[in-house]
Structure formats: structure tokens, C-alpha cells
Symmetry: C2
Subunit: 283 residues, 2 copies
């Protein structure tokens, strides 16, 4: 029997728990600060057993998944380094930025030869909480695995195979650069558009009646959680600042072309965006 | 019998034609440069009759709708000014920017006391062509009406009543300012994000496998038509440049806060975007 401890039973952690707990070789133990989440998970067979403290269950674990918000992941890595763990235990996490988490793991786990592999799945909705546990959340989603200096990604891929994700090994730097332009900067653009429109037009409940699908699409992710996104943006500073500077330069190319009535440049800029977007979902 | 001439049987014009042609008091005549569009419209009862030249049918018209791309709308307004029209004819258009169109109408139609009212519906999909004629395209959509110096909007609202849109009178300036921030600048943001991601990451067919819903939403309108959007952006210059400058300022507030690890400012900026987005679709 493989003991799997999952810390944080939000949508991501609870979905992993639900799928892994259905495999006969696994016993999933859920850890959460919220008692209601624990009893919901237990009553709905999302986990086999529950615990309110990581300390109590970590020593028996073969595999530990840290699925809390980013800052708590770092705290829990430090806590795990101080506990008596099984020698073969593998620890992973689900944080959306990897640089700080990997740094903490290298600092406190690697010297003790505890295996840590960073994880980040391109999955999840706007829902949060254990009741959103969903067996198909990870199906066909890209799932990045970031090896630490002493760990390989092969064992974790075997354990997580039932979630049917597309696993990909990637370096910390490549991961954070990629996230900056495909996730972090798009969020900033969405927040900025929503704020500017409100500053210019007043109450959004009033101007909302005029907007069409484009504006709705462009601002959907502006509804994301402020605390979570403040953490994400601050934990991927350099990559975000450099991608955002490039987007602002691109915006200025548009402004210049409009200013100069330069329809040839506008045609080229828009046609290249159109071409890239058409190819985006081909594979 | 009311004679309605609709010039341009694309999605917008053909949908108007289809609905209006079903009313017993109307006879809709379709005009288009494309013969296939004309025969499709005739064969599918989208129109009652067709003509390849506006000159031939305009003199009998009670109501004329110009539903071509913006630049051709202006050409057709000039052409109409030179034709012998019925004294009570009302002319309208469906162009997404209004300043230049209204200026041409005031220049050539107002002196002859020909009634022109600008129109712009917040409807339409990414589809184009007569086969996308859709009876519910305008249902509950905002439909802006821009009076010219000699025209009221009441008659046109009566004629267009069967499309079940929400009609609103608005000035040219207010219309173009509103469009800049709810439609034009969002398109530029989408084009710019798509181009920057491609410049940074290479072929979109390859990095497309990593992207999640947020990036897909934010780039959906980047697939819009280059010729059409070049025209739109150039026909609403001032309003777009000023809204875009405000968006860039907002982006720079984010950059600064990230640079300074200023989580309080980030929380405030994101929370206000979240609040506005939540209220956007309340009414």
C-alpha cells in the first residue's frame, strides 16, 4: 500500500486526491486547516483518512503533494525538512511559480537527500474548494515537472499516471519565463483593461449593458482572486517585468502606426497576430 | 408596402434582411457585389429580390441600410447623394465607427434634406458571409443610433422593432469614446499579447499545447480580420490613442508595484478589477 499525503484540499489538491484514492494501491490522507473540507473529503471518499496536522502523517508517507497556496507550500517544505520522513519519500507541489519554491527545497531538503520535484499543471478553473474535486480536471492538460538537483521525474510520473495529464520536464527558468507571458502578463492586461474602462466610463454595472463578447472574454480572468494573484505576480518578478515591457513596446507600435495613419504596418501587425492565433490550437 | 434596400449581405446585413423580409409590410431588396451572395439570399428568402447596383434600386426605396465595410459605407453615402431618392427615404448604416461616416452624411445628405441616422449594433460573431444570416443575432443587443442634425431616431426604431434590439440614442463623440475602450483597445491588447508571445516563444502551434483558458480567452479576438480592423483603428484615432495611453499607465502601475514588492498596491489594483468584473454582467 502506498501512503499519499495531500496537503491542501482545494480544487487542485482534492481533484488529485479523488483520482489517486480510487487506485487500489493507494491510500490518500488529506491534510487541511479547514475542518469542514476534511469532513467533506472523508464523507465523499475523496480521501481515505484525514489529519489536521502534517506532522502527524508525514512520517508514514511515501509520496507527499503540497497543494496549498504558494506561500504555505514554502512553509510546509521547511516543516517537512524538520520531520522524520521515510528515506524513499518523494515530495512534490502544485504551485504556479517555481523559482522560490525550488530554492527553498534545494536549501532545506537537498542537504538531507530528501527528493523534491516541483510540479505545475495547466489546469484548474475559477472555482475553489473541495467540492470542486473533479476526476477529469487534469485530463490532457500540460503538467510541468521541475527536477531538483538530486531528483528525477520518472517515479512521480508513474504515481500520477491515473490523472492522464501530459507530463513535461522543464527547467525552473524556462517554466517561469513561459508562465510570465502565457499566464501572468495576460492577467495584468485583463486587470488593467477592466480598471481603465471603469475609470473612464464609471460603474461597470451600467456600461456592462453595452459590451460585446470581446470585452467579456478579455476581462474574464480579471475576476481572479487578489491575494492569490498578488503572490503569483511577486513570486515571478523578473520574468513578468521583462515580458510586460515587451507587450508595452508592441502596444506602442500600434499607437505609432495609428498616429501616422500607417495602414501597411497595422495590416502586418494584425495579420501576424491573426496567423499566430489560428495556429495556436492546431496541435 | 415598404421597400427596404440593404447594401452588403454579410452576417450583419443578411441577418437584418432575413428578419425584416419576414414582416408582411416589408419587401427587402438585397444589393451586393458578390453574385453568389445575391443568389443565396434570394434562394433562401433572406431577400425578396436582388440587384447588383445600388443605382437601380435606391430611387424606389423607403429605407436604405448600408451594411458594407466602413469605407464602402462612405462611398455609398456619396453615391446616394447623387441619385433621385424618395423625399421621405431614411438612410442608416451599420458601421462600427461613426465619426467619419456621420461627417460624410452631414456633408452630402443634410444639404439635400435626406434623412440619415447612424447605427451600430453590439452584435455579430467572427463569422462572415450571407450564410450566417441569423434571426436572433440582434436579440437584446445594444443598438446605438446616432441622429444627424436633421434626423430623429424614432422612425428607424419602428422599422427595426422586429430585430428585438435595445435601441439607444448616443452622440458621435460618446459613441466613439465608448467603442475605443470597450472594443478597439481590447483588440489591440489581444493582437499585442499574441504577437509578443510568438516573438518570445516561437511558433504558436508548439507553445499552444501549454496554454490554459486565460490565454485562449485573451487572444480569441486576435483572430479578427486585418483589413477590417485596420480600417476601424484608423477611423477612431483620437479616442483609441487616449484610451490606450490610459491602459499603458495602468500597466505601468502594475510594473512599479511588482518592482517595489508593493503587495498592498497590487491587492488594491486587482481587487478593484475583480469588483468591476463581478458587477459587469449584473444588469
Amino acid at each position: 500500500m502506498r501512503n499519499i499525503v495531500i496537503v491542501g484540499l482545494g480544487e487542485m489538491g482534492a481533484s488529485l486526491a479523488k483520482i489517486l484514492n480510487e487506485q487500489p494501491e493507494n491510500e490518500v490522507i488529506g491534510v487541511d486547516v479547514n475542518d469542514d473540507s476534511l469532513s467533506y473529503a472523508k464523507n465523499n471518499n475523496i480521501v481515505s483518512s484525514v489529519a489536521s496536522d502534517l506532522d502527524m502523517v508525514a512520517p508514514q508517507a511515501d509520496f507527499i503533494i503540497l497543494a496549498t497556496p504558494v506561500t504555505y507550500i514554502e512553509d510546509n517544505i521547511r516543516k517537512l525538512a524538520s520531520l522524520p520522513l521515510k528515506q524513499e519519500v518523494i515530495i512534490t507541489d502544485t504551485g504556479s511559480t517555481k523559482r522560490d519554491i525550488m530554492a527553498v527545497a534545494e536549501e532545506v531538503l537537498t542537504p538531507k537527500e530528501i527528493h523534491f520535484i516541483g510540479g505545475h499543471a495547466m489546469a484548474g478553473t475559477h472555482q475553489s474548494g473541495v467540492m470542486w474535486a473533479n476526476e477529469s480536471l487534469y485530463k490532457d492538460a500540460s503538467y510541468f515537472l521541475i527536477p531538483s538537483s538530486i531528483s528525477q521525474t520518472i517515479d512521480i510520473q508513474n504515481i500520477l499516471e491515473p490523472i492522464s495529464a501530459n507530463f513535461m520536464s522543464i527547467s525552473i527558468e524556462k517554466h517561469d519565463e513561459l508562465m510570465a507571458i502565457i499566464s501572468d502578463v495576460p492577467h495584468i492586461l485583463s486587470f488593467s483593461l477592466m480598471n481603465t474602462a471603469t475609470n473612464q466610463l464609471g460603474d461597470s454595472a451600467t456600461f456592462g449593458q453595452y459590451v460585446a463578447g470581446g470585452f467579456k472574454d478579455m476581462t474574464r480572468i480579471a475576476e481572479s482572486d487578489p491575494k492569490l494573484w498578488t503572490d503569483v505576480l511577486l513570486s515571478n518578478k523578473e520574468a513578468i517585468l521583462s515580458s510586460q515591457a515587451l507587450v508595452i513596446k508592441q502596444l506602442q507600435l500600434f499607437s505609432q502606426a495609428i498616429e501616422n495613419n500607417d495602414s501597411a504596418t497595422l495590416m502586418t501587425l494584425i495579420a501576424s497576430a491573426q496567423h499566430s492565433r489560428k495556429n495556436l490550437l492546431l496541435k
